[in-house]
């Protein structure tokens, strides 16, 4: 996978993840171009489109569009399911996820994505295992927070 973009129906970019290095200018241009192209497409149209040397696979969930760029011979249907798995993970983590969750907790959205995909390739397809990794991270943070609080009131 070359990159993944999340954007709203209003065309606002909510998350971007690049697995191939591009200068910022190029990233902005690609993003703008794809958002316009995809927003112009009708609901019943097919989820794949050829774009330059790449293939774009996209799907809309409520007000959010998830869009991935893959290589010509990558598997399109399974890319749709990578998107779905990501949505499921977000949903499980935030508890029926909505766009606001991703706006306010964008860093979490990145952390979850990093557990699912690494370097543009699927790392862990098991929902259970990804969530386990994320909660292990959260646990570490909470311990640190408690430790900090105890220190503050002089108990540690």
């Amino acid at each position: 996978m070359h990159f993944m973009l999340l954007f709203s129906r209003q065309g606002k970019l909510r998350l971007q993840k690049w697995y191939v290095a591009h200068p910022d200018k190029v990233k902005k241009k690609i993003t703008r171009e794809l958002i316009t192209t995809i927003l112009a497409r009708k609901p019943k149209m097919c989820s794949f489109l050829e774009w330059k040397e790449l293939k774009i696979v996209y799907k809309r969930y409520a007000s959010l569009y998830f869009c991935c760029a893959i290589e010509q011979n990558d598997n399109e249907l399974l890319t749709l399911e990578i998107i779905h798995r990501y949505v499921e993970l977000l949903d499980k983590y935030f508890g029926s996820v909505c766009e606001l969750d991703i706006i306010f907790n964008f860093e979490k959205a990145y952390f979850i994505l990093d557990e699912l995909l690494l370097g543009g390739e699927i790392q862990e397809t098991s929902k259970k295992n990804v969530l386990k990794a994320i909660s292990a991270q959260d646990l570490l943070q909470e311990e640190e927070a408690v430790e900090g609080a105890l220190k503050e009131i002089g108990l540690l």
Binding site: L13, S47, E81, H84, F94, I122, Q137, E142
Partner: protein, 946 residues
């Protein structure tokens, strides 16, 4: 504001809310600038910030960046966070760096140090965090810094599964950045190979999934080294396919067992051809059959996720079946399965089915099976709501077209073209033009199709397409009359496309005489019809029409005065366009001054175009690289001139038939002023000047860029381009002295991406061991975009030989391996040392070296393939390497040469005599030397040069 889990940052949430509450873009920018100023002062202030505050501000900066604003500070603070002992702070530091630091930042050294520390942590969460950062940035520095640690983590026995997964993909990323990251010996082998391949057998499916991606990339680099993975992959696949969906627990996705792993294994196998081992092959075929069988089972869930995952595996299996292209039974089953999808409710499936079928259509086993679905595909082209699906249908129709259905498919495509989307018209036009040419048995049909194309989609008919129809009409006598009649009719439409005027103008100029007998298309009528379009056309078309007019003067003397009047008009003779002005004045002079004989010769019918690959096909290949099968070439019959064709060489023809015109071209006639002479050149090459290469040269250069490799060219010269394709150019410069030669080979990358795994190797070296000592210097494995590298080869001639060595150049372009074989310009004659001698000693040796029946002599009599010109023959002979001896042969037309072939072991004296016979257009070449094989080889080498 939604609840925040873990360790929330209130300040950040407040800031995000503020931004969201901004009513206008301006307000938002104002709020952001305020925040940036605040953060900047905090970072600069003397009060030391604690970790939490740093984390909060870095996170705010990140958010601002993600809104699309530029961030030019905070990097250092983020790097500081990396060494925090709090995980939450470290994590934010890494996130900021992954998103904002580009690969060539000066901070990389500091970052790498932190990563190094975290990789050594005992906590796997920290190790993974560090690896995620490497995988996200993946710079060359990182590849150098961690190229050893990461694979070690991957194969070491005590690494945890989660770490192994990250390590596999992290390593893959480094490998993409720097292919040399894995140390290999000269055979391409590595100490890691076996352990990495064995990961396919790992207990943990997550580890296997991550490892397959890595192995796929390694295999692409070095298929031989990793060949063992085939049987591992097949047995793993077989275990998944036969598993029930409950066996694999959480790796079952909506009742489909391990779809990601299955797809990756199927992709991995597509790097190899059908397994050689019979057992493995049978097992693989069983898997593929099982997958095809499952497609027929009732769905276990109505959810789209279930069908997507199941079909993803099915499509990948079909890709593998097509790739192997060896099991007719599976190919036909695959085709039937795809046929079912063509009428599926899901647009996505219809799209993919059309796409896969395209590949099936190119296999000889399934081509016929694909054709059964023609009607549905035509319907898809016409009825699909989504242009991307319609485009796939067009592609498939193109691929499934053959002699039996070409008329129908071309007709349907023409019909559809009238309403087709603008975005796909140009490509459709190319496709129709190619199909019509490729499958034409009746060329009137071809002409009709192309004229229809111009009529329906004139704007999308590129130069190549209309050049091509002209080439074909010129090369085929049987269709010229029909073409003239048809363009004449087409031009009568009140509004016709400029491209039609171009084709019409050209064809009538050449063949208008064939229809001039009919009063309805009498010369004057033809002329008036063309001229009625003249004022509506661009200068380029007008220039073409002016050439047509001067040809009319030759064909139809009755319109001469009318045309002269037109040429005299101010709008032409004094046109603001220099080209028009020049043509008008030159054509006018030509029509006034020269005799009708001269005019007739100058304006002779165009000679046949040389046979060549269709230039249109080249355009299509350029448009869709990789989507037009490489093997596809137009069948030759369409290009061969028909039997009763006109003269082959225009210029030659002048020389033979008309001394007057020969003078005109020979630049010395008193009649023709200098303008006329240059003019005559223009006329011979009709469009040559105007289009900077026009009809003939324009398409030729495209053709040349395909493959113009002709080793014979290098027999008499040492420098030049050996080979050229769209991807690379191979040039050579060489010098020889006695039995030694030095070759500089130059490889140029013509593409915009680097060519990977670039290597060159002498083919069949064993053949050369005793003949030539060849040393080829090593070369860099990467040829950067647009770059050129040089390779040096030293060659020593050990003993006499025939033919010439070949090197194989291989590289990977865009993931696809490419191979090119290039003959080196090292023929035996390169080792000649020229020898001077006088007439006496020449004839003494000549006699000495052989009477008529002597085996040491070789003789060939052959027809001239080029004009018999003394100067060029002399140039060639001196280029050949022997000494050209003047004043020795009693007949001054003959050429004699002498030279010594130097080998390591001996010197072989060699004499040569070339006797041209102009009347018969023949040569006789005699070579005598002290060794028979040398005489034969030298004679063979030289014989094709004249």
């Amino acid at each position: 504001m939604p609840a925040v889990r873990g360790d929330g940052m209130r300040g950040l949430a407040v800031f995000i809310s503020d931004i969201r509450n901004c009513k206008s873009k301006e307000a938002e920018i104002k709020r952001i600038n305020k925040e940036l100023a605040n953060i900047r002062s905090k970072f600069k202030g003397d009060k030391t910030l604690d970790g939490y505050q740093k984390k909060k501000y870095v996170c705010k900066l990140l958010f601002i960046f993600l809104l699309g604003h530029d961030i030019d500070f905070g990097h250092m603070e983020a790097v500081n966070l990396l060494s925090s002992n709090k995980y939450s702070e470290k994590q934010i530091g890494y996130l900021f760096i992954s998103v904002l630091v580009n690969t060539n930042s000066d901070l990389i050294k500091l970052i790498n140090q932190s990563i190094k520390n975290d990789l050594q942590s005992r906590n796997s969460i920290h190790v993974n965090l560090a690896m995620q950062c490497i995988a996200n940035i993946g710079s060359r520095d990182m590849a150098e810094a961690f190229g050893y640690d990461i694979p070690k983590l991957l194969v070491s026995g005590d690494t945890m599964d989660v770490v192994k997964q990250s390590a596999a993909l992290c390593f893959l990323r480094l490998l993409r950045t720097n292919p040399d990251v894995i140390p290999i010996d000269s055979n391409g082998a590595s100490e890691w190979t076996s352990r990495i391949v064995h990961l396919l057998n790992d207990q943990h499916l997550g580890v296997v999934t991550a490892a397959v991606s890595l192995i796929d990339a390694l295999v692409k680099r070095n298929p031989k080294e990793y060949k063992a993975c085939v049987s591992f992959a097949v047995s793993r696949l077989s275990r998944i396919v036969t598993a029930s969906y409950t066996d694999l627990q959480d790796y079952t996705y909506y009742f489909v067992p391990a779809p990601w792993l299955s797809v990756k294994l199927l992709r991995l196998l597509q790097n190899y051809s059908t397994p050689e081992d019979a057992g493995v092959r049978v097992r693989l075929n069983e898997c593929l059959e099982a997958i095809l069988n499952k497609a027929q089972d009732a769905p276990k869930s109505k959810k789209v996720q279930h069908s997507n995952a199941k079909n993803a595996v099915l499509f990948e299996a079909i890709s593998l079946i097509i790739h192997n292209d060896s099991e007719p039974n599976l190919l036909v089953r695959a085709c039937n399965q795809l046929g079912q999808f063509l009428s599926n409710r899901e647009t996505n499936l219809r799209y993919l089915a059309l796409e896969s079928m395209c590949l099936l259509a190119n296999s000889e086993f399934s081509h016929e099976a694909v054709k059964k679905h023609q009607e549905v595909v035509i319907l898809s082209m016409k009825m699909e709501k989504d242009v991307s699906v319609r485009q796939q249908a067009v592609d498939l129709l193109y691929a499934m077209c053959d002699k039996s259905n070409s008329e129908e498919i071309v007709q349907e495509m023409l019909n559809y073209l009238e309403t087709a989307d603008y975005s796909i018209r140009e490509e459709m036009v190319l496709k129709v033009a190619i199909l019509a040419e490729k499958y034409a048995t009746d060329y009137t049909w071809y002409v009709d199709v192309i004229l229809n194309l111009i009529r329906i989609a004139g704007d999308y008919v590129s130069e190549e397409v209309w050049y091509r129809v002209i080439q074909i009409v010129i090369n085929r006598d049987d269709v010229q009359g029909y073409a003239a009649k048809t363009v004449f009719e087409a031009l009568q439409a009140p509004a016709c496309h400029e491209n039609m005027v171009k084709v019409g103008g050209y064809i009538l100029g050449e063949f208008g005489n064939l229809i001039a007998g009919d009063t309805r298309s009498a010369p004057n009528v033809q002329f008036q019809l063309l001229h009625s379009k003249y004022h509506l056309c661009s200068p380029m078309t007008r220039a073409l029409l002016l050439s047509t007019y001067v040809k009319f003067i030759n064909l139809f003397p009755e319109v001469k005065t009318t045309i002269q009047e037109i040429l005299k008009q101010d709008s032409n003779l004094r046109s603001a366009d220099a080209e028009l002005q020049q043509r008008a004045s030159e054509y006018l002079q030509l029509s006034k001054i020269v005799s009708t004989d001269v005019l007739a010769t100058v304006l002779e019918e165009m000679p046949s175009f040389p046979e060549r690959e269709s230039s249109i096909l080249a355009v299509l290949k350029k448009k869709k690289p990789g989507r037009v099968p490489e093997t596809e070439t137009l069948e030759n019959h369409s290009l061969q001139p028909s039997p009763i064709n006109h003269q082959n060489n225009h210029v030659n023809n002048h020389t033979n038939s008309n001394s007057n015109s020969a003078d005109l071209l020979g630049l010395s006639t008193p009649v023709a002023s200098t303008t006329h002479t240059s003019n005559a050149n223009v006329l011979v090459d009709v469009l040559g000047d105007l289009y900077g290469g026009g009809v003939s040269t324009g398409s030729n250069s495209l053709n040349a860029s395909q493959n113009n490799y002709n080793p014979k060219k290098f027999i008499c010269k040492n420098n030049g381009v050996l080979f050229e394709s769209e991807l690379i150019q191979v040039g050579v410069k060489c010098e020889f002295k006695r039995n030694l030669g030095r070759l500089g080979l130059f490889y140029g990358n013509k593409t915009t991406i680097p060519l990977q795994n670039f290597s060159t190797v002498l083919s069949s070296p064993h053949l050369w061991v005793t003949k030539l000592a060849i040393q080829i210097k090593p070369i860099e494995p990467i040829l950067e975009a647009g770059a050129q590298i040089q390779q040096l080869a030293i060659i020593e001639c050990v003993e006499e030989y025939t033919d010439t060595p070949v090197i194989n150049v291989s590289f990977v372009y865009n993931g696809v391996p490419q191979n090119v074989s290039v003959k080196l310009p090292v023929t035996l004659n390169k080792f000649f040392e020229p020898t001077e001698m006088n007439s006496e000693s020449f004839f003494a040796r000549w006699k000495n070296l052989g009477s008529n029946h002597d085996p040491q002599k070789s003789q060939k009599i052959f027809k001239a393939s080029q004009p018999m010109d003394q100067v060029s023959t002399r140039t060639k002979l001196s280029g050949f390497g022997m000494q050209l001896l003047d004043g020795i042969d009693p007949n001054p037309d003959n050429f004699v040469c002498a030279g010594i072939v130097h080998t390591k072991t001996q010197q072989i004296g060699c004499l040569l005599r070339l006797e041209p016979n102009k009347q018969a257009q023949m040569y006789r070449l005699t070579v005598r030397s002290s060794k028979e094989p040398v005489s034969i080889e030298i004679c063979d080498l030289l014989a094709d040069q004249f």
